[in-house]
Assembly symmetry: C2
Homo-oligomer: 164 residues x 2
């Protein structure tokens, strides 16, 4: 076989292999497109572990321990429909809590849950409370959704019950 | 005043203004740090509007209309604790629905909600169902959290009730 012919053959072989690789890549992409991927939340406690510990603390009224141990420094806190605002960072979030507490008195609170997802957990609160500044008493019903990363709560969003 | 002196004065003035600007920037940053920011979800229907429409359709058994009109093409669907997997894209998500339906029979379903947040909404499902492949009947209790962007559902995560 001449050197030229051999070169041609090698080129052809190379092209064939390239086509084969492209085909395999396409097939794997097609297969991947409907195949699910595992969801990870980093190191530390899992969403299930955080959920069970935090809900236990909430039921015991140990909110301080939740704040100290389970809120990430960069936590984002989001208030739902009607407010639609986001507080960024633990300092701002704790200030929001303190401001709220200064103007509200809780008569009774029921904590239901947790429901546990892949990235976090949900808790349902039913709160009987009065607003100090207005003297009005009312019942609030909400679902808080907490996102967990590296064993801490990095986000919370409060969802309010609305007529449907 | 000599040209040199004037130049010096201008430099000094420039530095002073720079310092002033830096101080103002710092103060505004400090003020912002605890001030909340509005949460936006883009154009189209709001989370409240999507929530009310979708929950109405679910109660009417019109799941097909939810799929056709309210799921974004790039929707991500996440199954909660025990599964912890994410399906990407409407094609993969619809395939997941169809696979589930092929192996399950629903005897009764209760839809509670919505609870509406700033970025989406939560719905509570109580489902009495049987798995066809095993013949086992059981009750499932979950909270689905839907994220809305530009008037469509771009993400759903299912949270399962666990002992706490």
């Amino acid at each position: 076989m001449s050197a030229k012919k051999s070169e041609k053959k090698t080129k052809k072989k190379g092209k064939k292999q390239e086509k084969k690789r492209a085909k395999a890549k396409k097939a794997s992409k097609k297969k991947q497109s409907s195949a699910p991927k595992p969801v990870k939340t980093g190191k530390g406690a899992t969403p299930l572990e955080v959920a069970q510990t935090v809900v236990g603390l909430l039921r015991a009224g140990a909110m301080k321990e939740v704040e100290d141990k389970w809120l990430a420094p960069a936590i984002e806190s989001v208030e739902g429909v009607g407010a639609s605002m986001a507080w960024q960072g633990k300092k701002a979030v704790l200030k929001k809590y303190r401001d709220w507490e200064a103007d509200h008195e809780i008569h009774a609170m029921n904590v239901e849950g947790p429901w546990v997802g892949a990235t976090g957990f949900a808790v349902r609160y039913a709160i009987d409370m009065s607003q100090k500044s207005t003297g009005q008493r009312h019942q609030m019903e909400e679902i808080a959704v907490y996102t967990v990363k590296n064993g801490k709560i990095v986000r919370e969003e409060f969802h309010f019950k609305t007529p449907s």
